[in-house]
């Protein structure tokens, strides 16, 4: 350590040391984090967290996609910031600190979206601001990012965000397709498809999500039965659930 030639290489070494635990199986671990976010720990269908937007913005695929992308952005960077700051935040004030980080990121998203995509900003309305209190974002900061180094934390945030995005888009696709016979605005069933208003309005949102949760459970059981050997870590979802109410 005494004869490290340049500060640049020292920084590189520190960076390497941070990544050390993931060097052996880096690919599988990071890919595993993303897969967890999409399948076994899907925020909406499995953990049943952050349900408000899942019902509210999913009457059209376009708005659902915009919401999902906003969440991917906020979740990735909030995990990254939390992880970078994890040695400086005192444990007693960690929750307010996390919320301040998240609120800053959401405000950035709002300003960017209102400047470049005013129509989408209008369509998302109050729900974009409500990303601040999404249980899933605070939960990932608390459960994962505060205990891991920046790279896995960011990947975990990205994976979870992606799972959220997919859940939103799938729900929106079902509702838009059967509600008005269109997909992202393009007619699928022809112009004379009689619109079923109930699916597009509030009750349809609840019922569609209910059906998809049941479907996801069936698929999850099938997947688990197929590879009974490697079980994913069970305590994590329980811990996340606790945080969601805190």
């Amino acid at each position: 350590m005494t004869h490290t030639p340049q500060p640049g290489s020292l920084a590189a070494q520190v960076l390497e040391a941070e990544r050390e635990p993931f060097r052996g199986s880096k690919q599988t671990t990071l890919r595993g984090l993303i897969a967890d976010g999409i399948f076994s720990k899907n925020p909406v269908f499995v953990l049943a967290l952050s349900l408000c937007p899942a019902v509210a913005v999913t009457s059209e695929v376009t708005t659902a996609l915009a919401m999902g992308l906003a969440v991917v952005f906020v979740l990735t960077f909030s995990n990254l910031c939390t992880s970078l700051l994890r040695r400086f935040i005192h444990p007693k004030v960690r929750l307010p600190a996390y919320i301040a980080i998240i609120a800053t990121l959401v405000t950035m998203t709002q300003l960017l979206m209102s400047a470049y995509f005013p129509d989408l900003y209008q369509a998302l309305g109050v729900y974009l601001a409500l990303v601040v209190v999404f249980a899933i974002i605070l939960a990932r900061a608390e459960v994962f990012a505060s205990k891991n180094s920046p790279l896995p934390a960011a990947v975990d945030g990205f994976g979870m965000g992606l799972g959220f995005l997919l859940a939103l888009v799938v729900t929106a696709a079902v509702r838009e397709l059967f509600g008005v016979g269109r997909l992202a605005g393009y007619p699928v069933f022809g112009a004379d498809y009689p619109p079923i208003l109930m699916i597009v309005l509030a009750p349809g949102g609840f019922i569609t999500i209910g059906l998809l949760i049941a479907l996801f459970r069936v698929v999850g059981q099938w997947r688990e039965r197929r590879r009974a050997g490697p079980t994913t870590d069970v305590p994590a979802p329980a811990a996340t659930g606790e945080v969601s109410h805190a």
Partner: protein, 192 residues
């Protein structure tokens, strides 16, 4: 006066926070297993909503006119702080009330309905009295939804249901039916 009555009913039944705006679903799905817990949660909610409304009005009037881009951060921090403070005050002044509200008071702070109230109140430009009535209406609406949901779920738990939909999925179906029922209130004031 008529204005305030309209705001109250509009917030409590016509645009019910949970069943029409989908706010506070985490608590709605998670905590509504029994009626008495639902009632306590609902009461604590009303309480926090009123504090939020007051805090929002103060912030909007005295602070945020100078720095509108800080709105989200200041709402969430001030609301969380105010709730903590009130919790400590109640613990000291009225232990009975504190036991009745219990753990629900701090938990509610991260409920999306609370932040949404601050945002709606701001975007609609409500004054102090209108804001407080709006908060009361929203709170009563949440209480109503929670209690109805808990009552139905108590019954459903005794019934034979498919293993696949038991739990969250079934709760969503029930919420869908309730939402359908609450849509009936939509035309309440339009003809008057």
């Amino acid at each position: 006066m008529e204005d305030l009555v309209l705001i109250f009913f509009s917030a409590s039944v016509i645009n019910n926070f949970t069943l029409t705006y989908f706010l506070g679903l985490c608590a709605f799905m998670g905590v509504t297993n029994r009626i008495d817990t639902a009632v306590r949660l609902g009461l604590a909610n009303i309480f926090v909503l009123l504090i939020t409304s007051l805090a929002t009005w103060l912030l909007n009037t005295y602070v945020l006119v100078h720095a509108p881009y800080l709105s989200l951060i200041s709402y969430i921090v001030v609301i969380a702080g105010a709730v903590q403070f009130v919790e400590m005050a109640i613990k000291k002044l009225s232990p009975t009330l504190f036991r009745a509200l219990g753990i629900y008071l701090p938990l509610i702070t991260t409920n999306c309905a609370i932040l949404a109230l601050a945002l709606f109140q701001t975007s609609r430009g409500y004054g102090l009295a209108q804001g407080l009535v709006y908060a009361l209406g929203a709170g009563v609406g949440l209480l109503l939804a929670l209690v109805i949901m808990a009552g139905i779920r108590e019954e459903v738990e005794m019934s034979p249901t498919s293993k696949l939909i038991r739990g969250t999925a079934l709760s969503f179906f029930i919420a869908g039916m309730l939402s359908l029922a609450f849509m009936g209130f939509a035309g309440l004031f339009s003809k008057a």
